[in-house]
Amino acid sequence: MSILSIRDLKVNYHTQDGTVQAVDGVDLDLDESQRLGLIGESGCGKTTLLKAIVQVLPRNGHIVSGEIKFKGMDLLKLPPAEMRQLRWREIATIPQASMDSLNPVQRVGSQLMKLLRVRGGYTKKAARKRAVDLFDMVGLDTERLMHYPHEFSGGMKQRAVIAMALALEPSLLIADEPVTALDVIVQHQILEVLRRLERELNLTVMLITHDISVVAQVCDSVSVMYAGRIVEEAAAEPFFASPAHPYSLGLQQAFPNLASPRDVLVSIEGYPPDLREPPAGCRFAERCPFVQETCHDIDPQLEVVGDGRMAACLRSNEMDSLRHQAEDPSLWQNVEVTRGFALPAPKSAGDGRGEPLGRPSNVSHQVAADQPVADPYKDKPEPGDGGESDDILLKMNDVSKRFKIGGGLAGLLRGDKEQTVYAVNNISFTLRRGESLGLAGESGCGKSTTGKLLVKLIDASDGQIVFDGADLSRVDDKELLGFRSRVQLMFQNPFEALNPRFTLYRSLTEPLIIHGWKDENERLQRVVETLDRVNLRPAEVFLDKYPHQLSGGQLQRVVLARALVLHPDFLVADEPVSMLDVSVRAGILNTTRRLARELGLATVYISHDLSLLQYTCDRIAIMYLGEIVEIGPSNEVINKPQHPYTKALIAAVPVPDPTIENPPLRIREGVPRPTEQFIGCPFAQRCPEVMEACLDFRPPAIADDREHQAQCHLYGEHRNSPKLQREADIAR
């Protein structure tokens, strides 16, 4: 029986610049105990749809027409008071960033009990009992009822929010991005909870997300939204096996997959149409690799294309052959759209192998050079002066970084003791020219700090960082400037990485000005050349744009261009695509990877996403609590992980395939605070394979980082130490 049925729903937002048709004619049916995944990139109307269902649209949002029926009741005609009764009791929502929706000044348990008593009519005693049951159900320690939200970790808060959503036994649970922004291990555990509850409580779930692998793990049917419309509807298994809409096809191939890695990920270039004036024809036409003449004129409707599958595509009958064509990644890359600029797409956009942008700046010890900045052209190496390919560019020797917190006058007044955060602990590795290394780990493992150390945004507390023969702690100002011209950083958030007050030309030319390029025409030439390199074409169009005029993907390309404009030989990319839509992620990665190869650029990628690192990096280092616990060639680390932590991280990555269920993890969530120094192995508290020796001795440091090695007793002299039963034996 259909529990929720939406017919021809249209929602508009009135803005200063016109009316945005955010949801434009959506039909949706949700049967009892169905688990529907709603996928789409940002701005496609997913969240608006959710808000329309529970009628919490912002003030400028209006439901223009359509019908939302919930258990036969027309929600749009329901008086507000009755609607209020329905929310939470019948339709529970887990809003975006819901972890922050807990009241910070009330105990989590009392918030839950208050909800039960006020909305559920429970007595005090019954509410307490129910709260305990709920906490049990989502896997939270019931003692936690008396704790405040700040004492909860992110994953625990998310569990509490799920418990609250389910408290009144709703018939429908709508979750908006429930695991986004959680660490991969926590994400895995939350998904496990959701999966278990779905089974136990026979829940009806609507899950809104941009991440198709989450849908694969939790949902049994899928709807794909694009530009305010649903473009495909299918059961999960056929959907993942053979998507029936070009957009779904692209999304699927844009996702890196640890289980079956692709050689080249595709990127759906361009961006969704302006919903103030939606195009007359197919909305995806502009980005579609299979576009035909008719696509621009005829608006395809959602039609049945197979057994219980619907797709809105004019060419859905040829889908089998299209799917075959789509296997070729170059097909997608050719649709580099420069929308609104009305210029033809460049020919060899994607894997273009033009002449190199320049040589790797040089090998002649520019850091210590006499005139590093005077004339950049002089520093250009002679052709053929490439140096040996395997010499060491960068060496980290037992580098540590400590921060002091809680000290100072304020700490003194509060009575806080000054604490030391051991952000990075004695890490050592080497990096060769042209090599790429990935740093992975949960948040707080010190990977970003390492990135900052590498580009000398902060200085190491201990140890030595040697870049091209020069010790970074001993460079003078002039040498530092030389270093700055050779090492660049790419940022996580492209919306913040560019000065909003500068035109792109200004942003890109700044590094050149700083490094003494006097001639404006030379600067302009270099900027244009670099923009062209990162596939922002024609470059001239972008020069006088401001950052807010570009999409996230384009901005990240500009950030990349700024990093490359000085022709550096070392690039650190800190979560380069985590803020971007899935559809454009691959494009950025492909461009970065190609340019790194062309320029002989050594790269360090920092990411929590192992599948991404496997895709881009030669080697991967896994970090835990400021230490590198495993390092080795990418494929070996992913396929033959040694350290239990690496194994857990890999097992936790959701697979975009509903037929494969992620194995249960045997590791507890929650990284210990990095303020303690451990006698034994720092991972022992969470390790599923903990041995006696792990509590008493530090595991031997990685001896040779050029090989695949782990810092773990399982592979050292203590490998035969007796195993411990977890929990019981680890007295804290």
């Binding site: 937002y13 803005t15 610049d17 016109g18 945005v20 940002s42 701005g43 961006y271 969704p272 149409p273 302006d274 919903l275 103030r276 929308r339 609104g340 600029f341 009305a342 210029l343 580009v455 945004l457 530092l480 400037l481 700055r484 011209s485 090492v487 660049q488 950083l489 940022f491 996580q492 919306f495 913040e496 990485a497 560019l498 000065n499 909003p500 007050r501 500068f502 035109t503 030309y505 200004r506 942003s507 700044e510 590094p511 700083i514 490094h515 404006e520 302009l524 001239e540 169009v541 972008f542 020069l543 006088d544 807010h548 005029q549 570009l550 999409s551 996230g552 950030v559 700024r562 000085l566």
Partner: protein, 328 residues
């Protein structure tokens, strides 16, 4: 609305990129922000108009004012024309009987000075005090805020403890003390404000700098090798200048109000006409009991208008700087 949609909406036509784009300097940006303030907020525009009118009046005061503001006017017999009513209130023929021609728009004071001329000249000191104090407050506050916020550590500690001290000193009594030490002058107010009132601007700007300096584009500049001064003045300062303008425009209003208060309390230079001085003069000569509203209301109105103008402009900046406040 997503960035993409916004961007596509703006999507300017292709091919316009010639060499013009290179003029896009920070100064032009700032100018555009200022322009935006007055285009979007009609109140701010109104405030600006008020200032413009007073500025014109102040510049051409000697030409506009019919009489000298300080010299008592005399009739045919050489006596002061005391307490003359405005010509539009006075009984006809009264002036001829007293031996003068009543052309006084706002009448005369108890020692025969022309009130209208005083009002015109008063705008000079008001604007002089207002703008110089505002400039001093904005400049000192901005520099302090930038240095404290950017460098942090002991620079921050020293500057912010100084701000704490400034916060601890009561404002009007401080000016009175300053006036006691220095010769009476309208500049006392400017000096006192410069010494004390940078504290608010400095604090606010510091907090903004703390936010901006953590943004990735500042790190990017540092990674590119930009020096500290370059980062402060090329990257951070343009972003906080509108905030300085905001505090500056509030400071104009404050300064004018303060000058009026101080003059009214009698600590001003008797040789300089200001609106506050006029009020004090009127108060002392019992103009209130004589119902000489034409003496009291105009300077009061002028003070109110200029102060309002300052706040209107400040409000306009606030709307552009903190658009979220609008929806509250």
């Amino acid at each position: 609305m997503t960035i993409q949609q916004e961007a596509s909406a703006r999507g300017e036509p292709a091919g316009v990129a010639t060499m013009q784009f290179r003029q896009g300097s920070a100064i032009r940006q700032l100018w555009e922000t200022n322009l935006e303030v007055f285009q979007r907020d009609k109140m701010a525009l109104f405030g600006l108009c008020i200032f413009a009118v007073f500025a014109v009046v102040a510049i051409f005061a000697p030409q506009i004012a019919p009489n000298d503001p300080l010299t008592p006017l005399k009739n045919n017999e050489g006596d002061w024309v005391k307490d003359a009513m405005p010509y539009w209130l006075a009984e006809p023929g009264e002036d001829e009987a007293e031996g003068y021609t009543n052309t006084f728009l706002l009448g005369t004071t108890n020692i025969g000075r022309d009130i209208y001329s005083q009002l015109i000249h008063g705008s000079r000191s008001a604007l002089l005090v207002g703008f110089s104090a505002a400039a001093a407050v904005a400049v000192i506050g901005t520099v302090v805020g930038l240095l404290a916020g950017y460098y942090g550590g002991w620079v921050d500690a020293i500057l912010m403890r100084a701000a704490d001290v400034a916060f601890g000193i009561p404002f009007i009594p401080f000016i009175i003390v300053v006036s006691a030490f220095l010769d009476p002058s309208i500049w006392n107010v400017v000096v006192a404000m410069a010494v004390l009132l940078w504290r608010d601007t400095g604090r606010v700007i510091r907090s903004q700098v703390l936010v901006i300096k953590e943004q990735a584009f500042v790190s990017a500049a540092r990674v590119s090798g930009a020096s500290n001064l370059r980062i402060i003045f090329v990257y951070i300062a343009p972003s906080i200048l509108p905030l300085s303008f905001l505090y500056g425009s509030f400071a104009i209003a404050w300064a004018i109000l303060t000058e009026a208060s101080v003059s009214f309390l009698g600590f001003s230079d008797p040789e300089t006409i200001s609106w506050g001085f006029m009020l004090q003069d009127a108060f002392n000569s019992l103009a209130l009991s004589r119902e000489a509203f034409y003496w009291i209301v105009p300077p009061g109105l002028c003070i109110m208008l200029t102060v309002m103008a300052g706040f209107f402009i400040g409000r306009g900046y606030e709307e552009v700087l903190f658009p979220r406040l609008r929806r509250m």
